[in-house]
Amino acid sequence: MIKRTHFKSSPLPYLLVAPQILITVAFFIWPASQAVYQSMLLEDPFGLKSEFIWFENYVLLFSDEIYFSTFLRTVVFSSLVAFLSLSIALLLAATADHVVRGTRTYRTLLIWPYAVAPVVAGTIWMFIFDPTLGIVSYFLHGIGYEWNHRLNGNQAMALIVLAATWKQISYNFLFFLAGMQAIPKSLIEAAAIDGAGPARRFWTIIFPLISPTTFFLMVMNIVYAFFETLGIVHAVTKGGPAKATEILVYKVFNDGFIGLDLGGSAAQSVILMLIVITLTVIQFRYIERKVEY
């Protein structure tokens, strides 16, 4: 789109887009194409010689059981984080929308974890659940449940799900609340006159009307769980114990920087890029159509 009235072509617009384009090419497009190229190379860890092997790295990946289980683990992790943070946020937003007094206060008290960095959130939860001195593991011990996320893979997974969910609730809450407050009050009142109680009004009016928001948040939450949780995993579990919390984005990082398997890591990067592109396209197509009732 362009304005009806606009300036004539001159060197000026090129100068104006130049910084953006330069940075995009140098730090986005060039590295991304490098990743695609590297994913087809077999390199020794010292980068001394390399051989072009087409799609062999991908073939290796897809036949690798470890990669497959990492993939499954990531799906489980993301679904858990998305489902938990969305449902908790939905409950909180619905109740905050329902109360007359205090909506703004509750909002202030609920939104600030958005500002906490993932790695900071991870550190705090790690402290709370520390097997020897954490406050929650102490109470769990008191009721006869032994907590040690350094040894127990399921507990480690539960801990990173908890930290990731805690951080994401505020984001979802804000969008849900904004969506609910945009619904005309007359609709709700009409339903109330017809005798529908709060729960019924929620499921038959509010929930269907905010479905575009819910869909948008689902995509955003999956993207968050796939990529932005790297800080949490890195600080809390380092993918352990025994790879129980190794998710895809952590594996890319780990294989590339620590394992120095450059070709394999690049192939994984390319697969992740394809996942993001797919998610973005789905989201754009959906936003254009919008769910309507």
Binding site: V17, P31, H98, L110, A117, L230, M273, T280
Partner: protein
Amino acid sequence: MIEKRPLATWFSHTVLILGVAVVAFPIWITFVGASHDAIRMPQVPLPLLPGDQFFINLKAAFVEGVGNAKEQSVGIMMFNSLIMALMIAGGKIAISLLSAFAIVYFRFPFRMIFFWMIFITLMLPVEVRILPTFEVVANLGMLNNYWGLTVPLIASATATFMFRQVFLTVPDELLEAARIDGAGPMRFFKDILLPVSRTNIAALFVILFIYGWNQYLWPLLITTDKSMYTIVMGIKQMLEAAEEAPEWHLIMMTTLLAMIPPVLVVIGMQKLFIKGLTETEK
């Protein structure tokens, strides 16, 4: 409220108060942890009430530094974080404003190609192209300085799209009037477009400041020099330093200091924050 249902209202308040308590619990623990000394920390159970060492720990973190980053005081790490956050937020806004202006107000060859090139960056989070980007930065000699920390993160499709959206809603009459008065493109940009998109710029700044402050993986990879550590990655270095017996009281103090600036920004500029979040992402 539509009807009187005291039970539903009580239920709602109970749920909300529980929610607030659960959300705030980790922060309370952090605060309590930051206010005790090294002797109290390893004793089980950990305290639930704050101790009296808060300011002593604060001073220790600021003056002596913590763990692996011992020589590096928290104050310097916070300063680095601040510079990084400001450069990322300011840089992103500046280059996005300029490119959105060019795309909306000029007709020139390759306009749509540029538009799509910017659009692509939307799809490539830094995590998935981290290794090749690192190589580019290393080849440009930008390791261990503020340029390397910020410039690769500055290109932003979302900000460009938002400004494009804002500019498209600016009435055409404004441009016509400016032209009649003899204003050139840059004059129009500076005297008319910038003032009308003032609140959008501020809202975006809030979001981008938090984004910049919370960067983790990128600073972790490109800073090896302790004087360039940022506070968010510094915490990780502290945890690593003391795998055996972490100095939890100082780590918690640093954690608290790492989250105070962005949290204050969110709470203090709540209106702008919500505007920025809902408008850039949707």
